[in-house]
Symmetry: C2
Subunit: 404 residues, 2 copies
């Protein structure tokens, strides 16, 4: 049995995701698809619209055979850590391939780029630092550094999926993982070429935007599998809300207003006096959106700041994150599986070093603790009964899908 | 010009308060009444129903000539610190008398009790510690210690106003203050004796209880001056709420769930493993009231625990409180004054060591910082515009009443 791994957020699962999952399986001729999915808080520093359990159901309903949790210390992170955690989990699980969508669409330039950067690492790094000191964001500084070194790449490094792809290949190389990386051009362009109505494809960002603006699900239902629409509807009905930053804003505001600058400085990603900026801007910003606009600078991207705000919300300190990372993964948290997924786990049991966790009760170590705390904070905007259910759900067994 | 000082919360101002204020002036033949009033969080560990500014208006409308703020490091405290701060402020202001209502009603036993305790301090203290180790609350342990020493007092020390009175007299003695203490029997009994309908008198606790239960103000209006009813109505209309613990519960819950035990242990009054108890009990307690019931033990009174919860909410550490207390008062915060009050301040200017603050912008030091933070947190349940107004109001000039 061969497996292909993909790294996802499914926030929410849409037709583009379905296309990638199908392509991944087809192109690699794998028997099963293993999905590594972020838990509660995501790479852009946002809460997931709906719980990890509902998103696991979406994944299982649409072809995933195993859903594995990417825990908080990797999920709410810049591309480098995010990719590192995901590749480590997939290597441990014994997948043959990792598959990702990219703007580039060809895998060779990714390997070439990793090679180039490895050779000229210290020069590139010093250029990046230099450009960042001039006020450029990391992706822009990185891209400039390559141009300056006369090592132009075929991959545009300001495209988010290219950056992630680069970091997957880099993590594979750094970790000496036997996984083979493979990529497909992102769906939007692809479908366009094949003259399929572009209406059926929309980015998760634009779907979330529509949902946040109150667009009825029926009006965007054609961009998602029916199972996604049903699960979103069910979640909203049972929980009376979808998780958006606005709902967490009172807590962030309270946290910043009640903390000293010294306490804020201890939090992960609070660097270079950002604690003062947090305090100055939050007192009179009426909404989360207004506040982030106030907070933004040329130096710090919105994504970078949203991740900081996520760590402020979850009260994650530099020390805790460092401990979690240096301890490393102690287990693999299983969120969902199909019969075929279960067979794969049985067959590969002896090749794994880490135990597969089916109940969080047994979890120990910094990574599990940070994920658990994030899950409790994630549940905070819910009304009382929904909140209990959400907190207790952390200790649920994985979701089992008996047949595809 | 002679002044009598009284120490109050006015949460809210009612007929019993009016009676005490009138008696204080009459009995001492003072020209003016100086009121030292708690700011935002009160001695029982509760938020004040309405802002310090509205309560200042209540005081001025009913005979107070000066309203002085008792800041957070003294207001949300056990009787000893509460009395210490209040007596220090009144001494600094140069009042001739301090007047308090008590269950006892006679001032002599208070002086006698202070004398007794001073003489046998170490024995009483060791008895108190011993009884507390057996699980008794402080007031009960204290009362038992006196009985055991065969020093029974005419004052029942389980009555809250007697305890406060004892601590006023003790603070006067300890500080070597020239203030003379005087007391009147509490109004409820007094009115009863004089056959005035007890309907016109209700404790602030029972008034708050009625308000919390949704009783229309009209139904309890006869227990308060018309100005109180008007100011409560106005506050509620402008701010859409009265400040009750329920509104702060989500923040306390968030704070406890997002903090480590070590972080909770750093907070003021979090002693003897209470951090674990906070964490264990809060996750599944649906309301604040349910939670406090779960939290209570024979050892810790509700009031003691509510004060702890207040410090958790305001994120006040042991270190901050110690710094504030050891720095001491750096100024006197004026909240309101009448023409006569202003005259008194002019006449006594040269006798004061501390500046009178009319705007908080000039405030420095730990005491002022803790009060300001408490005021910002106090405003957190308000809707956005009301919240801005409340936060900005901290820097308002005092309220001036031109004539009585």
């Amino acid at each position: 049995m061969q497996a292909v791994g993909i790294v996802v957020e499914y926030n929410p699962f849409h037709n583009g995701h379905l296309y990638q999952l199908t392509q991944a399986k087809k192109e690699t001729e794998a028997d099963i698809v293993i999905v590594v999915m972020s838990g509660t808080f995501l790479q852009r520093g946002e809460p997931a619209l709906i719980s990890k359990w509902s998103r696991t159901e979406m994944a299982l309903a649409n072809g995933a055979d195993l859903v594995i949790e990417l825990p908080y210390p990797f999920s709410a992170q810049k591309a480098e850590y995010f990719a590192h955690g995901a590749v480590q989990l997939l290597t441990e699980l014994g997948v043959e391939f990792i598959h990702f969508g990219s703007e580039a669409g060809d895998i060779l330039p990714f390997y070439e780029l990793v090679d180039t950067i490895q050779k000229d690492f210290s020069t590139i790094n010093s250029y990046v630092q230099e450009h960042m000191k001039l006020g450029l964001s990391y992706p822009r500084a990185f891209s400039n550094a390559l141009t300056r070194l006369n090592r132009p790449t075929a991959i545009s490094l300001t495209e988010p999926n290219n950056i992630l792809g680069y970091h997957y290949v880099k993590a594979i190389t750094d970790q000496g993982s036997p996984i083979k990386a493979t990529t497909t051009k992102r769906i939007q362009a692809h479908f366009h070429e094949q003259s399929i109505s572009s209406n059926h494809i929309a980015s998760a960002t634009s779907i979330r935007k529509a949902i946040n603006e109150g667009t009825p699900l029926a009006d965007i239902a054609h961009t998602m599998p029916a199972s996604t629409v049903n699960l979103l509807t069910k979640y909203k009905k049972e929980n009376k809300l979808l998780h958006t930053w606005d709902l967490y804003y009172p807590f962030v505001q309270y946290k910043i207003l009640s903390s000293s600058c010294e306490q804020l400085r201890d939090l992960y990603e609070c660097e270079e006096g950002l604690e003062y900026r947090l305090k100055e801007t939050i007192k009179f910003a009426p909404t989360y959106t207004d506040w982030i606009e106030l907070l933004k600078t040329k130096r710090y991207t919105r994504t970078r700041l949203q991740r900081l705000v996520t760590h402020v919300l979850t009260n994650t300190t530099k020390e805790e994150m460092q401990t979690a990372h240096s301890e490393g993964l102690r287990h693999i948290q299983l969120l969902g599986f199909t019969t075929k997924g279960q067979q794969f786990l049985k067959q590969t049991r002896k090749q794994r070093n880490l135990p597969i966790l089916t109940k969080r009760a047994k979890a120990t170590g910094g990574i599990a603790e940070l994920e658990e705390r994030a899950a409790v904070i994630y549940a905070q905007p819910l009304l009382i009964h929904a909140r209990y259910r959400a907190i207790k759900a952390e200790f649920n067994p994985p979701i089992q899908l008996h047949s595809h």
